[in-house]
C-alpha cells in the first residue's frame, strides 16, 4: 500500500523530482573563448568562479551550462583582455552581447545619439535583474531620440569665430618603458608532430 502524502507537500516534491531528473541528464559542454590578442594570462585563469584554461588567444572550459552568459564572458575579459568570440558549438554570443561583454557590462551608445536627445524623450535609466548561473539578463534599456539633426543647419563659417589657443606642449622621455636590455634569445624547441588517418571519419 502506498503511503498517504499531504497534498500541500506535492508542489515541492514535484519540483525536487524535476531537479533530480534535470541533473541526471545534464550534459557537459566545451566552451571556447577567442581573445582579440594573445590572452594576458596563460594556463589556468580564474574568472569569477570559473577556472578556464588559456593558451595563446584561446581559452576553454567544460561545464553543464546550456547557454553562454554575458556575465561570465565579462569576468573572463577582465582577466585575459577583449573577447572575439565566446560560447559553445551551436550557442555562441551574438555581436551585441560580445560588445557588452567587452565593455565590462556598460552599454555604450554613440555620443551623437546622446547629444540628440530632446524632449519628449523616453529614458529609462533604472535596470534591475537577477543573476542566474553563469548568465545575467538585465531589464531592457530604452532610448528614444528625436530623429532630428543635432544643430540647426547653417552655412559653414557663418559664425566667423576665430581663436588662438595656448600652445600645446608635451615632453616625452623618448621610450615607452624602461626595459632591461637583453641578448636576443634563439631557441630550438621540441618537435610538434601529428599523424592523422587521412580522413575525418
Amino acid at each position: 500500500m502506498l503511503p498517504r502524502i499531504d497534498r500541500r507537500a506535492l508542489p515541492p516534491l514535484v519540483a525536487l523530482l524535476a531537479l533530480l531528473a534535470q541533473a541526471s541528464v545534464a550534459a557537459d559542454y566545451v566552451y571556447v573563448a577567442e581573445t582579440q590578442a594573445v590572452a594576458r594570462k596563460q594556463g589556468s585563469v580564474l574568472a569569477g568562479k570559473l577556472a578556464w584554461q588559456c593558451q595563446g588567444s584561446r581559452c576553454t572550459i567544460q561545464g553543464p551550462w546550456e547557454a553562454p552568459g554575458v556575465a561570465a564572458c565579462q569576468a573572463l575579459a577582465r582577466e585575459v583582455g577583449p573577447i572575439r568570440s565566446y560560447g559553445r558549438a551551436g550557442r555562441m554570443l551574438g555581436a551585441a552581447e560580445l560588445a557588452t561583454c567587452n565593455q565590462g557590462g556598460m552599454v555604450q551608445m554613440p555620443s551623437k545619439a546622446i547629444s540628440a536627445v530632446r524632449l519628449p524623450a523616453v529614458i529609462q535609466p533604472t535596470v534591475t535583474g537577477s543573476a542566474s548561473g553563469a548568465g545575467l539578463r538585465t531589464g531592457a534599456i530604452l532610448f528614444t531620440g528625436t530623429g532630428g539633426p543635432l544643430l540647426p543647419a547653417r552655412t559653414a563659417g557663418s559664425l566667423g569665430l576665430r581663436a588662438t589657443t595656448a600652445a600645446i606642449r608635451f615632453q616625452g622621455t623618448g621610450i615607452l618603458l624602461a626595459r632591461t636590455p637583453i641578448e636576443p634569445v634563439t631557441l630550438r624547441v621540441p618537435e610538434i608532430t601529428f599523424t592523422g588517418t587521412g580522413s575525418l571519419e
Partner: protein, 160 residues
C-alpha cells in the same frame, strides 16, 4: 605558374623558415620542428603560434604574457609537412623581455569544414596529446589519430 609567382612563393617560404635574416634581431626567435602526416583532405594548411610569459612552466600556471607571434598559414603537401617553422617576435609594448621565463608553441590546423573555413586546436593546453578539435558545426569535429602515433600539438619549456 608564372616566374613571378614562383619567386614570391619561394620568398614567403624562405621568410617563414628563417632563411631571410632580418636587419635587427627580435627579442625571441623560436625554431619549431614540425612533422605532420596523413592529414585529411579537408585540412589544407597549418599555423604555428608561440608566446613568451613570465612564470616558470608548470601545469596550471597562470603567467603574464610578455609577447607572442604566429606564422602565416603554411600549405600542406600531400596531407603532410616536415620542416622547421621559425617564429620571431618582440616583447609587447607593456611586456618586459628580461622577465620572460618560459615559451610555449602550439599547432593550429587550418581547413574547410561543411563549406566554412575553420581551425582545429588542441582541446587542452596542458595535455599535448589531447584531441585536435574544430568548434565549427554541431557536434565539434576531431581529427582522428593514426593508431600508435605520438601526438604533440603543443610544446613548452624554459626560455633560458
Amino acid at each position: 605558374m608564372s616566374f613571378r609567382s614562383i619567386l614570391l612563393s619561394a620568398f614567403a617560404v624562405a621568410a617563414v623558415s628563417g632563411v631571410v635574416t632580418p636587419a635587427a634581431a627580435e627579442d625571441f626567435t623560436l625554431i619549431v620542428p614540425v612533422r605532420l602526416a596523413a592529414l585529411p583532405p579537408e585540412i589544407d594548411g597549418f599555423r604555428i603560434q608561440c608566446g613568451a610569459s613570465e612564470l616558470p612552466v608548470r601545469v596550471g600556471a597562470t603567467g603574464t604574457t610578455v609577447g607572442g607571434g604566429i606564422s602565416p598559414v603554411l600549405p600542406l603537401s600531400g596531407g603532410g609537412f616536415t620542416g622547421d617553422v621559425t617564429i620571431r617576435f618582440n616583447a609587447s609594448p607593456t611586456g618586459d623581455p628580461a622577465r620572460a621565463a618560459t615559451y610555449s608553441c602550439w599547432l593550429r590546423l587550418n581547413g574547410i569544414l561543411a563549406g566554412t573555413r575553420t581551425e582545429w586546436y588542441g582541446t587542452d593546453g596542458n595535455n599535448p596529446a589531447s584531441p585536435m578539435r574544430s568548434m565549427t558545426g554541431e557536434p565539434p569535429v576531431d581529427v582522428p589519430v593514426a593508431a600508435g602515433a605520438t601526438i604533440v600539438h603543443g610544446v613548452k619549456g624554459p626560455l633560458r
